[in-house]
């Protein structure tokens, strides 16, 4: 069933989003924002995960999520205080949910006892707080929710007959007409669900108003073959009895779904008799409705075994059951009404005890929930698109941009003078393609939030393990970057933050001895700077111990013993492969792979890393990342007879050689003096072993900025122009070439190579150091 696979894929997509949201919410909750909105968001997320899991039959996930949800529910209505311990437990629970989701996705089975400890703690918490507090929750609160819903077949399309046919199945308390007897008919529209409202919450609130009986009206449910998953077929009739109830109070409950449903509220006179097919005590109304609703939404996806269970439990009408089961595959036109289930509480004696309405503690929270989801959902209008489809568009737009720039290159002066309309058309084309390109890139762009949101807990864990006190500040988390870049960002950022927390921030004692605040700060920020995104990880720790770094680098043979390195060069050594300064190898960092990985990952996506450190004051690591990976603005130059391109983002300026002032340093190396600065010179023709004209004056200097405002002057033979190119990999069919970041195809079909400015510079440093 490939449709089911599609649904599953969508479900897992949603899960990853929801899990991210959980992280965000808990980061805020941990920071002290313990308001109802946060909790409701958490509750919603877990509930959605559970709902989908139930539909696909991931029973382990459902079980755990259910227990977790119950705990959250108790926290939400105030029965359990949201203490730090509970928050920690919840965060651990998020991990377990994530693991369960992953296991369900990959099909691996988790150990059966996985998460049981936490589940037991949920139970303990729920039990401990609720004893003597609420009659309805009794001594076994988890049981209340873990009740086995025994499905019972009823013919709801003939509800009146049924009440006669099945007199024993349901407890039918006599409905006395009295003052304050209200009948409410509630018919939600699709929009109500679309705005993430939940009838269950409404019913819970109603239940708090008085004694309530609910009947689901399933007469409109079509045959299975016509069943539309997102359509709304279910409405409810509610009977509410309370001596003091007013219409206004009922209206208030429905205030937030006003306009998204039909509500009629009638005060019933002496003839008000409930024709309820389903009567359940209020404590079960919630569960029953949730069950019905998820049935309605997920019927299509019902697992076979669940269906079997459903059918085998059919007491009445007995003869129908085998037929349904036998014909289920063959008869898709089976009426949904026939499949609908009701709920029979497992332990009937307990029912009476739980019949008291729950204390209305959840009332303040619920309207806030409705309000938030109402307000939030209005702005969100999005569709899910397969990333491959977007990439195809991105690639085609890339080729279009190149063709356009090729066309523009073909225009010479004579053509320009002759075909003014053509020139104008080309200009418009250039603008439009640029706009198209920006729009397409914007589709791929995502806020860095998705990566940043994983960091607070990392810092928290690190703080716990190292016994340090660390505060994480994040700035600019709505900055958007290309999705591919974001995916590559997680590992480097993790390593950098680990490094800051483990090596940078000192222990509280040390900090207070130095007159710093005991709590160390790690600041993570993102901002756009021109065609780049800058991501900065800053800490107010000890800074890099340069002496030790240099000593270690010498010991490990990373630099020559007599090499004379500047402070910045020493700082940069922490990115060298095989380098680690931690004296005691911790399990956090210090295996000497971390920072090396940072550099290689970042380089792979065309970015650069720069580190600056102030002894005793802190360290700042800056990642410079390209906004997009697909198209690069470049300057086309000639080295020897071959075309090369230099990324425009790294070029500071170009100078004619005849106007540049070169000097020689004692070693004989040439340096360029520009505005009082001396800059290393790399003659590309020499560097690439090409026969280039050495007649200096015709050549050009391209002054580039490498990592961290380090400048380098490239000498090229000619400057041809500026254009946009699509980056192609050399490694796809060949291997990495030093000093070359990749290739690209020019308008004339020839290949031009992309100069790796940073790579050239690093190669020189290593040569000097070796």
């Amino acid at each position: 069933m490939s449709d089911l696979d599609d649904f599953k894929a969508t479900y897992f997509d949603e899960c990853s989003e929801l899990l991210t949201e959980l992280e965000e919410q808990f980061a805020a909750i941990e920071a002290g924002e313990r308001d109802a909105d946060r909790l409701n968001a958490v509750f919603r997320a877990i509930h959605s995960i559970k709902g989908g899991a139930g539909a696909f039959g991931f029973s382990a996930l459902v079980g755990f999520a259910h227990a977790y949800e119950t705990l959250l529910d108790y926290v939400r209505d105030g029965r359990i205080e949201l203490s730090d311990d509970v928050v920690v437990l919840c965060i651990r629970a998020n991990d377990i949910v994530a693991d369960h989701v992953k296991a369900a996705q990959t099909g691996d089975a988790l150990p059966a006892e996985y998460g049981l400890d936490e589940k037991a703690r949920f139970d303990a918490l729920a039990r401990g707080d609720s004893i003597g507090d609420d009659d309805d929750s009794g001594g076994e609160p988890m049981d209340e929710f873990d009740i086995d819903f025994t499905p019972v077949m009823v013919r709801l399309d003939a509800a009146e007959d049924q009440s006669e046919e099945l007199p024993d199945t349901f407890e039918m308390p006599p409905m006395q007409a009295e003052a304050g007897h209200w009948e409410i008919r509630f018919t939600p529209y699709r929009a109500l669900y679309a705005r993430a409202n939940d009838p269950l919450l409404l019913f819970r609130e109603l239940a708090a108003l008085g004694e309530m009986h609910v009947r689901a009206i399933l007469g409109e449910v079509p045959p299975l073959s016509d069943f539309e998953p997102f359509a709304v077929y279910c409405s409810w009739e509610i009977t509410l009895v309370s001596a003091t109830l007013t219409e206004a109070a009922i209206r208030e409950v429905f205030e937030f779904v006003d306009g998204d449903c039909d509500i009629s509220i009638v005060q019933v006179g002496s003839q008000g008799t409930a024709s309820a097919a389903i009567i359940a005590p209020p404590a079960f109304v919630d569960a029953e409705l949730a069950r019905l609703r998820s049935q309605e939404q997920n019927l299509m996806a019902l697992a076979d075994d669940e269906m079997g269970e459903l059918l085998s439990f059919t007491p009445e009408p007995a003869p129908a059951a085998p037929t349904i089961q036998d014909n289920f595959e063959a008869a898709p036109a089976l009426s949904f009404a026939e499949l609908a289930e009701t709920i029979q509480p497992k332990a009937a004696p307990q029912t009476a005890a739980k019949a008291n309405p729950p204390k209305p503690t959840l009332v303040p929270a619920a309207p806030a929930d409705g309000e938030e989801s109402h307000g939030r959902s209005v702005g969100v209008q999005s569709i899910r698109v397969d990333l491959d489809k977007v990439d195809r568009v991105v690639n085609m737009v890339g080729e279009l941009v190149i063709t356009q720039s090729m066309l523009t290159q073909q225009m010479d002066e004579t053509l320009r003078a002759r075909y003014t309309e053509l020139v104008r058309g080309l200009e418009v084309l250039a603008q439009t393609t640029r706009g198209l390109q920006d729009s397409v890139m914007a589709i791929r762009a995502q806020p860095v939030k998705s990566v940043f949101s994983r960091m607070p807990r990392l810092v928290r864990e690190l703080a716990n393990k190292t016994g340090k006190r660390i505060k994480l500040e994040t700035i600019g988390e709505n900055t958007e970057i290309d999705k591919t870049v974001i995916e590559q960002l997680s590992d480097p950022l993790t390593h950098m933050i680990r490094n800051s927390a483990d090596h940078g921030i000192e222990t509280p004692e040390k900090r207070s001895a130095m007159g710093k605040p005991e709590i160390g700060t790690v600041r993570l920020s993102a901002e756009q700077a021109g065609g780049n995104i800058l991501i900065v990880v800053e800490d107010d720790g000890a800074g890099i111990n340069r002496e030790r770094v240099l000593q270690l680098a010498r010991d490990k043979g990373i630099v020559a013993p007599d090499a004379n390195l500047s402070d910045e060069q020493i700082d940069q050594l922490i990115f060298a492969p095989g380098f680690s300064t931690a004296e005691a190898l911790s399990d956090i960092s210090g295996r000497g792979v971390g920072m090396d990985v940072v550099l290689s990952n970042i380089k792979k996506i065309g970015g650069s890393v720069h580190v600056r450190s102030w002894t005793g004051k802190g360290t700042r690591m800056t990642l410079r990342l390209p906004l997009t990976l697909a198209v690069l603005d470049v300057m086309l130059v000639k080295v020897g007879e071959s075309p090369y391109v230099v990324p425009l983002s790294s070029i500071v300026e170009t100078i004619q050689c005849s106007r540049a002032s070169f000097e020689r340093v004692p070693s004989g190396e040439r340096v360029l003096q520009v505005r009082g600065e001396y800059v290393q010179v790399i003659d590309l023709a020499q560097r690439f072993n090409m026969a280039g004209g050495s007649a200096h004056d015709d050549r050009f200097v391209v002054l580039c900025e490498a990592e961290g405002s380090h400048k380098v002057a490239l000498i090229v033979d000619d400057i041809i122009g500026q254009q946009q190119v699509v980056i192609k990999s050399l490694e796809e069919n060949f291997e990495r070439v030093d000093g070359i970041a990749g290739g690209t195809i020019l308008g004339d079909g020839n290949v031009a190579l992309i100069v790796d400015v940073q790579g050239l510079k690093t190669a020189i440093v290593h040569k000097n150091a070796a």
Binding site: G640, M690, E735, V751
Partner: protein, 162 residues
């Protein structure tokens, strides 16, 4: 850039191809004939220049654009240590797949499609290290010696040693 018509004279020969036989594309470098298994060949095109790659050995002639992907070109003559080919429009690039990579090999001309029996493949005589390194075996066809190229060996060691 025209692809050479290869399939014209294949009809009767392919009928001979039993499962023990091997079809080769034969090409020449100077007086020598070499062959590669026909199934590895993706495309044959006329030499049309290549963008040189810096910091590579002399037998790497550079890279070309093959319908949007970048493919490296190896100069087989230079690979055998006989100096770089001075290519003209008559020289030919044989594009082949080696593992999951596509590479081009610059040769003087493509001469024939040969069907040989696997039993007729001889080991390369010990002696010249370049021959033993780059050839998988030798077959005789029409009293000509054909060296079977080991593509993996040809494309390895392309970078200048640091």
């Amino acid at each position: 850039m025209e692809a050479l018509g290869l399939r014209d004279d294949m009809g009767d020969k392919s009928a001979l191809a039993a499962h023990n036989s091997l079809q080769l594309i034969a090409f020449s470098i100077g007086e020598q004939t070499y062959g590669v298994e026909i199934t590895t060949v993706r495309e044959i095109r006329a030499w049309n220049g290549a963008t040189p790659l810096p910091n590579t050995r002399e037998f790497v002639r550079g890279v070309i654009n093959l319908r949007g992907t970048i493919v490296p070109i190896f100069d087989l003559r230079a690979r055998f240590g006989d100096g770089q080919t001075t290519p003209t429009k008559n020289h030919v690039v044989v594009v082949m797949s080696v593992g999951d990579k596509w590479v081009g090999i610059l040769v003087d001309a493509v001469s024939d499609i040969l069907t040989v029996s696997r039993d007729d493949i001889h080991n390369v005589p010990e002696g010249n290290s370049i021959d033993t390194e780059l050839l998988n075996g030798i077959v005789t066809h029409d009293s000509r010696m054909v060296g079977l190229i080991d593509l993996h060996a040809v494309v390895s060691g392309a970078k200048v040693d640091a």
